[in-house]
Symmetry: C2
Subunit: 133 residues, 2 copies
């Protein structure tokens, strides 16, 4: 079970990376962009829990994304210890492409899978994800 889970994750991340090779993004960077794609501004802490990455990783991920011009960090006027992270126009474009690639990948992979199987998958994934809590 756990082995199957790992294999599937590994394979999808790799397939996604191949599809997005032209964009020159790592899995973490894609993850952050995909999370910001809804247009909502987030603090670094929120982004960390949404993407399940450590603040120490986020710092460098956001540094790279900012250098590429996809993301901005602005001081939060309400709490000047923290930042509001948001997408630039370029960032929105790239995030959209990443999201489209992920959706296309899912459609392709799951074309022959029944809705019942999908529901089962979601139930198991949720159960496994909650073990760590």
């Amino acid at each position: 079970m756990i082995l199957a889970l790992q294999r599937a994750t590994h394979a999808t991340l790799h397939a996604l990376a191949v599809r997005l090779a032209g964009l020159n993004l790592t899995a973490s960077e894609i993850n952050v962009l995909a999370n910001l794609a809804d247009g909502r501004t987030r603090s670094i802490g929120e982004l960390g829990s949404d993407t399940a990455t450590k603040p120490t990783t986020l710092t460098s991920v956001l540094d790279r994304l900012a250098r590429k011009g996809y993301v901005t960090r602005e001081l939060d006027p309400a709490d000047r210890r923290s930042f509001r992270v948001s997408l630039t126009a370029d960032g929105r474009g790239v995030a959209g492409a990443a999201r489209a690639a992920a959706e296309d990948l899912e459609r392709t992979a799951l074309a022959e899978v029944s809705d019942a199987d999908l529901a089962g998958f979601r139930a198991v994934a949720r159960a496994l994800a909650e073990v760590s809590g």
Copy 2:
């Protein structure tokens, strides 16, 4: 879907690492030990496809496992470019503990999941894993 998959993998690997913290093993090391636990000898190449790790990673993983006395590399007399990797007695003990922890984790996490959901999960995981092929 892909996000759910990633989250579940992340959480289970983390939970497993916590349970096995006393053994001082990384996820890759556990993966290798679990694969060798059936007692079958493997070449590095076979081990690489079984564990989905690159030869370059395996070299260092096996170096660490050998240093800890869990694994041996012996020249294959039939093809002296390659090695036969096998568990030592200590290695068998640790591999057994790792496998038991993984099974216990699954039992705990999936106690309330139906067989139908499990079957669905397997179908989806298999479909996703085959995308990369």
